[in-house]
């Protein structure tokens, strides 16, 4: 059977997640339960949402270095304004999404490198978050708490949420016309332009959509942690980029995979637990996590090379 390059792209992340999961179950059989799975993947939900947001930005050949601070900012808004006066909170979120859309436009019109613009914006979001919550605190709105801790029958919430996120974003990015345009801009924006589309509008919409997912990520995070902190999600910038790449995405060329991105986020979350189960001291964990990343990426390179060799023959 001939596999399309898209399917091939998904195999590696799926296999690595399965292997990691098998290893965790082998070491800690009790994790193989409803509660165990929920605990393992709980924190993966906000990471998955942030990864999807990052993936959208990467689909148009940009990179968002403010993802971590922006999610922290959204978490702070959720724990303060959204909880105290929901209307005000929603308004702030809408404003933040508009700011992202404007950022996309500026990057496009002025042909600025997205890395520089988003790096600058990261200080802006971080500052706003500190202004709102100078010290850790706040409280999760009741409905968010309820949503994130609800217990659907048979399958834990963390898994249900991941599947829903993967399905929705797959439809949005891979199947819908809008998704085709987003990836088209990443692949060859001049040809999209020549076909009569407004690339600036597509970029703005992509950035706005990414902001929406980042906002959801912040809300989900507060739902799990019950309170927020201005530095709560700083790791998310690099985690989200790693998740996209782990899931088969590429930095340029509009080659992304939403299902892969969600799987990548799950793998990253699981890698942390796996290393704890291995009783590796926290001092070494970051390095070990990096090693896992390198192994997976090496596998993918190897597979790409095989694929290319097959094509030649």
């Amino acid at each position: 059977m001939k596999l399309s390059s898209g399917t091939l792209r998904l195999i590696i992340p799926a296999v690595s997640l399965a292997l990691l999961l098998a290893a965790v179950f082998y070491m800690q059989p009790r994790a193989m339960s409803y509660t165990g799975l929920n605990l393992l993947f709980n924190l993966a939900v906000p990471i998955a949402l942030a990864t999807v947001a990052q993936m959208l930005i990467m689909a148009v050949n940009d990179l968002d270095l403010s993802m971590g601070t922006f999610v922290s900012f959204c978490a702070c808004v959720t724990a303060t304004f959204l909880q105290a006066s929901p209307a005000m909170g929603v308004l702030i979120f809408l404003g933040a999404i508009a700011a992202y859309a404007a950022m996309g436009m500026i990057i496009h019109v002025r042909e600025l490198p997205s890395i520089v613009v988003t790096l600058g914006m990261s200080f802006f979001w971080g500052g706003l978050a500190v202004l709102m919550l100078p010290s850790p605190g706040g409280e999760a709105p009741g409905w968010v708490r309820w949503l994130m801790t609800s217990k659907p029958p048979f399958v834990p919430m963390a898994i249900v949420a991941s599947v829903v996120i993967a399905a929705v974003t797959h439809f949005l990015i891979m199947r819908s016309s809008f998704g085709v345009l987003i990836r088209g801009v990443g692949g060859n924006f001049r040809s999209v332009e020549r076909a009569g589309w407004s690339v600036i509008r597509i970029r703005a919409a992509t950035y706005a959509l990414a902001a929406l997912f980042a906002v959801l990520s912040g809300i989900a995070l507060v739902g799990l942690t019950t309170s927020a902190d201005a530095n709560i999600a700083l790791r998310y910038t690099l985690l989200s980029i790693a998740g996209v790449i782990l899931g088969g995405g590429e930095f340029v060329g509009g080659r992304v995979s939403p299902i892969g991105a969600v799987i990548g986020a799950l793998t990253l979350a699981l890698a942390g637990s796996f290393l704890s189960f291995m009783r590796i001291s926290p001092d070494w964990q970051i390095g070990a996590q990096g090693a896992i990343l390198i192994v997976v990426l090496a596998l993918r390179l190897f597979l790409n090379r095989l694929e290319r060799r097959e094509k030649i023959q």
């Binding site: 399309s4 990443g186 999209v192």
Partner: protein, 470 residues
């Protein structure tokens, strides 16, 4: 229409009627691509007007598209990460609503079958997985396809540059049918036979002006070339006689376990012929890597490579012309790890004169040059090195006749002074210039032709023998 200091179009008057195929020819930098961009709305003229179907005034990409103008560009312009049908969706904005995927698929399948009967392109695969010829076929088919209303004017800019003779003939036959049904085509090509046989009317451009606009039957290939301003050289080359002297400088065992072995001797021009995409490029890459490790570049390189696909692996788009030219000779230009600016400038000026790069300043960005001039810079890049062997991967794609003649002359002198050239070309005229020719079929060398045996007839016979056209 002016670009910086260069005037690209100057008082051009062009009318295209319904139901006619207009051929547009001219040198590199004559303004053909510029006029295409003015017609399709990407560029707004500084003076003068463009009118579609009689109504002037509005201008822009969407206006042009609304008036049924479609364009197939010289450099391939599909999104490589998307599937064929997704590319159809991007090119056809009115393919909206549910189930657009299957409609797009049906549309492109029907159109491909109509233009290139017998093709075997999988329309579900991504563009990345297609060969360069297949990509061009898909792009052409997408442009000719129409939902509801058919396109009125199709601009084909070098549509056959990556297609082999059979596919090109299919396309030209389709163009005639399209025109007979009332559509119009603006055909730009460097293959004069194509222009002469397909167009109703031929417009010749030179230095941003129209110099001739006559019916096609009033031209023949000689008068056409004369109108473009270059002199036809009918004479054959004096092939170097001292062939196969000494031991080969470059050799390769038979490919794919069968066929002939490859050998090249000092001072030879060896041609790689055959239909497009039959393993010539791979052979060149293998030859290159056999002399230069993939991991560790050799200090003194014996081989230089001229790439055919300049946007993909030739030009550094953000660099100046000079930097693009000197990149491979930096070792010779620098002392103690520092580049000697003066020597670099001298090298640039020298080559600018030798191959006539049309630019006011070598410090301009490489993209300010026309396609053919960019290719000349890539040529100079290889020739400026001390390398004794130059490998060329169809380097003359989209280069005009005059430039080609200049480059041929340079090749010949360089070969006499002892350099070896290995030249893959899809054009018969170029292959005929070689001292010796290897014909490729399905990845292996199937024939070796020497001297006067190098004729179109022999090459075609070798490319197609065993009765199986690929």
């Amino acid at each position: 229409m002016t670009f910086g200091a260069v005037k690209a179009l100057d008082g051009v008057d062009l009318t295209i009627h319904a139901g006619e195929c207009v051929g547009l020819v001219g040198h590199n930098g004559a303004g053909k691509s510029t006029i295409v961009n003015v017609i399709n709305g990407s560029l707004t003229p500084h003076a003068g007007t463009v009118s579609y179907g009689g109504n002037a005034g509005q201008h822009g990409i969407s206006v042009a598209r609304a008036n049924g103008i479609r364009c197939v560009f010289q450099e391939l312009s599909l999104c490589p990460n998307l599937t064929v049908s997704e590319n159809v969706r991007i090119m056809h904005g009115d393919l909206k609503g549910w189930n657009w995927r299957s409609r797009a698929l049906a549309l492109i399948k029907a159109q491909l079958k109509e233009i290139f009967p017998g093709h075997n392109i999988d329309c579900d695969s991504t563009i990345d997985d297609l060969s360069i010829a297949e990509r061009q076929m898909v792009e052409i088919a997408i442009s000719f396809a129409g939902i509801g209303q058919r396109p009125k004017l199709i601009i084909l800019d070098e549509p056959t540059s990556s297609l082999d003779a059979g596919l090109a003939a299919q396309l030209m036959a389709y163009v005639r049918r399209f025109v007979a049904e009332g559509g119009s085509v603006l055909l730009i090509s460097h293959i004069l036979g194509e222009i002469l046989s397909t167009s109703d009317r031929i417009v010749v451009m030179k230095d941003g002006r129209v110099v001739a606009d006559r019916m096609a039957f009033e031209f023949n290939s000689r008068s056409l070339v004369e109108a473009m301003g270059s002199v036809v050289r009918e004479r054959e080359w004096q092939r170097s006689t001292a062939m196969k002297a000494g031991s080969p400088v470059l050799s390769m065992s038979p490919r794919r376990g069968h066929g002939l072995a490859f050998e090249a001797y000092r001072g030879e021009i060896v041609g790689l012929a055959g239909l497009g995409g039959h393993g010539q490029t791979e052979a060149l890459l293998e030859l290159y890597l056999s002399r230069n490790s993939n991991w560790w570049a050799a200090r003194r390189r014996e081989t230089a490579f001229v790439a055919g696909d300049r946007s993909l692996n030739g030009a550094f788009a953000l660099w100046s012309i000079l930097k693009n030219l000197s990149i491979t000779s930096l070792g010779e230009l620098s002392s103690r790890g520092m580049i000697d600016r003066g020597r670099e400038d001298r090298l640039g000026e020298d080559w600018k004169k030798r191959i006539e790069i049309r630019t006011p300043d070598m410090q301009n960005r490489i993209l300010s040059l026309s396609g053919g001039n960019q290719q000349k810079v890539l040529f100079a890049r290889a020739l400026a090195t001390a390398a004794g062997i130059v490998l060329m991967d169809d380097p003359m794609r989209g280069v005009d006749v005059g430039t080609k003649q200049e480059v041929y002359e340079i090749l010949r002198t360089e070969a006499t002074s002892g350099r070896t050239f290995v030249w893959y070309s899809t054009e018969m005229d170029e292959i005929r210039l070689c001292d010796r020719v290897y014909v490729f079929r399905e990845g292996a060398i199937v024939a070796e032709l020497v001297g006067d045996d190098i004729t179109e007839k022999h090459i075609l016979a070798a490319s197609f023998s065993e009765g199986k056209a690929a």
